[in-house]
């Protein structure tokens, strides 16, 4: 068995916000008819979560399910559980026109926390991050400066950011600069 490592070995930096690579995370792309009964039942049985509404993320006892597009979801789970999740979803969705793929190792995950987290995200993404516009439970696919990224917010107002592993260093450097000491904007706090 190979020694699986995350893109940046858990690097972190702290300034007006704390930016850290969270390490390995299980991610499974699911494409298919999101409105079908089979899809709803499969996610309930395997993850314990319902099919999220448009641009939302729902959570269950074994992970979370994020809405990616009208025919795509992203299941987020433990890294070690991803292959089992793929097998279980494929079994539960047998016969349906679906695609279930483990994409865990194609991605990197960062956490941005602290009082200025909203400001830091707002510096790099064309997204309205006002407290009344972006709330817990939302999932937003967008760009972080020049690369695609997606993020959601945890209950404690910290953000989790996912991006392609190939641009992990770029995204970390970007977030590190955006959260550098002395770069407060103070717009959202």
């Amino acid at each position: 068995m190979s020694n699986v490592v995350s893109a940046l070995n858990g690097v972190s930096r702290s300034g007006i916000a704390v930016v850290e690579e969270t390490g390995l995370r299980g991610m499974v792309t699911v494409r298919g008819d999101l409105a079908s009964k089979a899809m709803g039942k499969a996610l309930k049985d395997v993850i314990g979560a319902g099919v999220p509404e448009v641009r939302q993320i729902s959570s269950g006892d074994k992970g979370a399910v994020a809405w990616m597009s009208p025919d795509e979801l992203l299941v987020i789970c433990d890294h070690g559980a991803a292959d089992e999740v793929v097998a279980a979803l494929n079994a539960a969705l047998a016969g349906a026109h679906v695609l279930v793929v483990n994409v865990s190792d194609a991605r990197a995950v960062f956490k941005v926390s602290g009082q200025s987290a909203r400001d830091v995200i707002a510096k790099v993404a064309p997204v309205d991050l006002a407290p009344e516009a972006f709330e817990v439970g939302m999932m937003r696919r967008t760009r972080f400066a020049q690369v695609p990224a997606a993020f959601w917010m945890n209950a404690n107002e910290s953000f989790e950011v996912i991006c392609f592993r190939s641009v992990a260093q770029y995204v970390f450097d970007l977030l590190a600069v955006a959260s550098a000491e002395g770069s407060e904007v103070g717009f959202f706090n």
């Binding site: 448009v54 641009r55 809405w67 597009s69 009208p70 695609p148």
Partner: protein, 109 residues
């Protein structure tokens, strides 16, 4: 800055989250069509001063293609709509008519 609402995910996306994909409602002429139709399909485009229909892609987002109706002179956006259609929705045509009575664009009016 141009802002369009993606009809699939509902995001009010600013231009940099989108990618322009040329003219909307093109009818494809492929193998078996005559040269003139094929040439028109490949090269002949509208270049209007005013009402225009475009294809956009929410590339840094849900990834879907959609259509937008807007004015090339004022940048006013009349609306966006899913790409699974052969013509603009009546509601958008009505909105354009209110502003530009008698407008026409290719076979639409």
């Amino acid at each position: 800055m141009l802002t369009l609402q993606c009809p699939y995910c509902g995001v009010w996306a600013e231009e940099t989250e989108l990618h322009a994909e040329g003219e909307a409602h093109l009818k494809r002429f492929g193998p078996g069509s005559d040269d003139e139709a094929f040439e028109a399909y490949l090269f002949m485009r509208e270049n209007p001063k005013g009402v225009h229909f475009e294809r956009w892609r929410h590339s840094n987002g849900c990834g879907k293609f959609f259509h937008a109706a807007r004015s090339t002179t004022t940048l006013e956006v009349f609306g966006t709509y899913p790409a699974q259609t052969l013509e603009p929705p009546q509601e958008i045509k009505d909105k354009i008519s209110a502003k530009y009575p008698g407008w026409s664009w290719r076979e639409f009016a």
